[in-house]
């Protein structure tokens, strides 16, 4: 028993591991809450694109020596609003508009970064995260923004619910539809920014959609889906970090791999809606009709 405790406690003896754990817990909890909307509204591609679009902002902040969060937040919010405007105001379909902005911004970010001598290391950190390099300041920023995101989701819960389920109803109820839509995009940008340090631009999408999708299969109501998603995200963060500590796996990918494993477990075994369940039901139906 004491051996297990020692095994569990050992990584926490390192300050950088403790900071990394706290940061990944924050990300693991807020990503699935926002991810619930991403999954239900079919915005996965948008979320992925937004994460890549943020890159030039992060790079500029990095080159100027600003906190990365500031640059990322400004570009993220700007990009979210620009994409919204392009697809609302022209005949260009939304996914094409996203594609144009997505690829262009990503290229700009990499081009800017390639001017630096430490290009390869920096790029790796931005693409795949640098959880063990989280500073106290990063941690404060992440917890502040995370708290703000959760508070906003709570405050606009019923409006977001109507908007996601039935946008036309939101319009006939004369809810401020554009404001709510933009607010949701801004929240998404904030969550992505907070997550970049933990898992990087390339893997943020997993944090948003994987636990939320698993939670979707396990629950019947939106609040339960958010809670279950946050639970899966938090569990994956902890397990992923231990995986990273003891087996030397990069921490961001480790967390994402745990999330993916949980998703497939749920996909197979979820009561009522899992793969095994429906296979058994089909079998039973066949034998009862035969």
């Amino acid at each position: 028993m004491s051996q297990v405790l020692a095994w569990l406690a050992e990584p926490l003896g390192y300050a950088f591991m403790l900071r990394g754990l706290l940061a990944s817990l924050i990300v693991g909890i807020i990503c699935p809450v926002l991810g619930t909307y991403v999954v239900l509204r079919g915005m996965a591609f948008f979320g992925d694109a937004l994460a890549h679009i943020i890159l030039p902002g992060v790079v500029v902040a990095f080159l100027l020596g600003w906190p990365l969060g500031v640059g990322a937040l400004v570009t993220g919010i700007l990009a979210a609003l620009v994409i919204g405007a392009i697809s609302r105001r022209t005949d260009i379909k939304e996914d094409a508009a996203i594609g144009v902005v997505f690829a262009g911004a990503f290229a700009l970010g990499i081009a800017l970064l390639s001017l630096q001598r430490s290009y390869a290391v920096d790029l790796t950190h931005l693409l795949f995260g640098n959880l063990l390099g989280v500073s106290d300041a990063d941690l404060w920023l992440a917890s502040g923004l995370g708290f703000l995101v959760l508070l906003t989701v709570l405050a606009f819960y019923k409006e977001f619910l109507v908007l996601c389920f039935d946008p036309v109803l939101a319009a006939t109820l004369r809810l401020p539809v554009n404001f709510l839509q933009n607010l949701l995009l801004v929240l998404l940008a904030v969550v992505i920014v907070v997550s970049i340090q933990a898992v990087g631009v390339a893997l943020v999408l997993a944090m948003l959609v994987t636990p939320a999708s698993a939670a979707y299969l396990l629950t019947r109501r939106l609040p339960a889906m958010m809670l279950a998603g946050a639970g899966i995200g938090a569990l994956s963060a902890v397990l992923g970090l231990y995986l990273s500590f003891y087996w030397n796996v990069a921490s961001g990918p480790a967390i994402v791999l745990i999330e993916t494993a949980i998703f497939f477990l749920v996909f197979a075994l979820a009561p009522g809606r899992g793969f095994v369940w429906s296979w058994a039901r089909r079998r039973q139906e066949r034998s009862s009709t035969a």
Binding site: L40, K158, F165, V168, A171, L173, F179, R221
Partner: protein
């Protein structure tokens, strides 16, 4: 923060619940509707019929205020639709995401989102409203059901309950009867009768000329423009039907009046009236 939400317009009780004047709509660059003018008195029940692509859904959306007309006007109790929260628009069932994780009671409560107001949670009074609405559509015992588990008739009734919870005075229903069996249709007509008694105005689209002729006091024949509007006996004439449906209608002399066969129905079936 509350400036985000405009105050609903005061109803002018001397004005009709719905008055449409010379309405025209362009949709994706093409003319979808033009020259539509009509008015409905309070408590009226009107059916909009016409071939596919006639602009029936477009008309409902413009009246609901979710689509802007390119010219003409819609007045609901004397004001443009944008200022009203008393208009309920119930989309076609195929337009709804039935896999969404919400319960029946939650969907009905959505109708009250505006009345509850920003930064507030539903009060006990709001829940009472929801449960009364569900009782009126005979769905009270299914309130905790996930919406994906309902039959077609039940799905339609949930959205009617939502309109009731919204305290709507003008209810627009897009194809509410399509695909429903006779008992489900009758349940909906029972509720429409009740709504008529409380002076709620109802306008719905349908492909079923038979139902339109028998169970509505006003009928509108539409094919990108208004062909006829009025009591069914005046609207359903051979000339009007030919104008609306063209080659897709076959008129046969029947035992008591005229038999009409159209082949434009949504489900490929033929209907007689």
């Amino acid at each position: 923060m509350n400036q985000l939400i405009s105050r609903p317009a005061e109803h002018d009780r001397t004005a009709p619940p719905l008055e449409v004047e010379d309405l025209a709509v362009r949709y994706n660059g093409a003319q979808a509707l033009s020259g539509v003018s009509f008015a409905l008195p309070a408590g009226a029940r009107a059916a909009v019929v016409g071939p596919n692509g006639a602009g029936k859904t477009t008309l409902l959306k413009v009246i609901a205020g979710t689509l802007r007309p390119s010219s003409g006007s819609v007045r609901v109790y004397g004001h443009g639709p944008g200022g009203h929260v008393c208009i309920a628009y119930v989309p076609q069932r195929t337009q709804v995401d039935w896999s969404f994780p919400v319960t029946v009671a939650e969907v009905v409560m959505m109708g009250r989102a505006r009345k509850i107001g920003l930064f507030r949670w539903p009060s006990k009074g709001d829940w009472d409203f929801v449960h009364t609405a569900l009782e009126r559509v005979d769905m009270a015992e299914l309130d905790e059901r996930r919406i994906g588990e309902l039959s077609g008739g039940q799905q339609q009734r949930v959205f009617l309950a939502q309109a009731l919870a919204q305290e709507a005075e003008l209810i627009l229903l897009d194809e509410p009867l399509t695909g429903l069996d006779l008992p489900s249709q009758n349940a909906i007509f029972g509720l429409l009768d009740e709504l008529r008694r409380s002076q709620v105005t109802v306008m719905l689209t349908t492909h079923d000329l038979n139902l339109a002729a028998e169970r509505f006091d006003q009928v509108m024949l539409l094919n990108q423009r208004l062909i006829a509007f009025g009591p069914p006996s005046e609207v359903f004439t051979a000339a009007h039907l030919l104008q609306a449906y063209g080659d897709h209608v076959h008129l046969l002399p029947g035992a008591n009046g005229m038999m009409v066969l159209t082949d434009t129905c949504c489900e490929g079936g033929e209907e007689a009236a």
